[in-house]
């Protein structure tokens, strides 16, 4: 039950982070070039992602559990550490924070500079929207598939991602402005902690570890990961230097 809740939360938070970035691009395209092509591109990319998750999720659940835990746990651990690394570097001033306002302004300028439509179809807006939604969404699909398959809860992970997507789209449609107040780096930090903890737990089981306390060890790993991540942020941030991302 707790494991499923954590899977839901992990997928939802990861989806929220990536969808906020995608929303910024789709909004910039929409307000400068019209809404039809950007929305078509985004919907087409989401359809591709749904097919990927629907095909790979159940297929992975059929793989022997020890092999699945080793492979998927290792991937989650590497992926989670990359998210944590980026979040800690940003929080401690060694990497610039992702600025949705600046990203929005850059996308608007690029969209204005791009050529007009030739055959009634805005290829520029269609392709940029499709590509950005697909690339950002692929990270979410990866997290949904791996978290879900290992826990035998692909549906729950997918539900978390879809919930976050719906919330971001509704809020974006209401404000029609980049969601710059979303604490993106904090969300990235939280996702990094969860992926790293799940990855450590499952990859460990995959290589034959019997964790002391069984499932309780996962909760302990989460607490420990939060603690050392905060410690690293503090230690690293003593002499920060802001550099471009």
């Amino acid at each position: 039950m707790t494991g499923n809740l954590l899977v839901f939360l992990g997928a939802a938070l990861a989806s929220a982070v990536e969808m906020v970035e995608t929303l910024t691009i789709v909004l910039a395209l929409g307000v400068t070039r019209g809404w039809r092509a950007p929305l078509q591109g985004a919907v087409a990319a989401l359809a591709v992602l749904v097919v990927v998750v629907a095909a790979l999720g159940p297929a992975l659940e059929a793989v022997p559990i020890d092999l699945l835990r080793l492979v998927v746990g290792s991937l989650l651990l590497v992926f989670g550490l990359q998210w944590l690394r980026k979040a800690i570097l940003r929080a401690s001033g060694f990497k610039a924070l992702h600025d949705e306002e600046a990203a929005f302004a850059a996308e608007v300028a690029a969209a204005r500079a791009a050529g007009g439509t030739s055959d009634g179809v805005d290829h520029y807006a269609l392709v940029i929207s499709f590509k950005s939604t697909l690339l950002e969404g692929m990270e979410v699909a990866f997290i949904v598939i791996t978290l879900g398959a290992n826990q035998g809860a692909t549906g729950i992970a997918a539900a978390g991602a879809v919930t976050a997507l719906v919330v971001v789209v509704i809020v974006g449609a209401l404000v029609r402005h980049p969601l710059s107040r979303v604490p993106e780096n904090t969300l990235k930090f939280a996702v990094g902690v969860m992926l790293t903890s799940f990855g450590t737990f499952w990859a460990g089981e995959g290589v034959g570890i019997d964790w002391p306390g069984a499932e309780v060890a996962l909760a302990v790993l989460i607490v420990l990961t939060v603690a050392w991540s905060l410690l690293f942020t503090k230690l690293l941030g003593r002499q920060p230097i802001a550099v471009a991302a």
Partner: protein, 70 residues
């Protein structure tokens, strides 16, 4: 095909290949400890933060180096 493979590697490995290498080494060491019958559960919780810390220190060094050059 090569571009797709490179894209997948970039996607998983990310900004610092050290992390992926360290994780593989830690898992291999843990597997060996398990096979020889030793207590192995502590190795990942100890090694994972150490690997990340080394990666962060490398990033900090690079950031300082690029500031000196600019």
């Amino acid at each position: 095909m090569r571009r797709v493979a490179r894209g997948v590697v970039d996607f998983v490995v990310g900004d610092d290949i050290w992390i992926a290498v360290a994780v593989l080494a830690l898992l291999a060491a843990t597997a060996v400890l398990v096979r020889i019958g030793g207590e192995a559960w502590w190795l990942l919780p100890a090694g994972v933060p150490a690997a990340l810390w080394i990666s962060l220190v490398r990033a900090r060094r690079q950031a300082r180096g690029s500031r000196r050059l600019s």
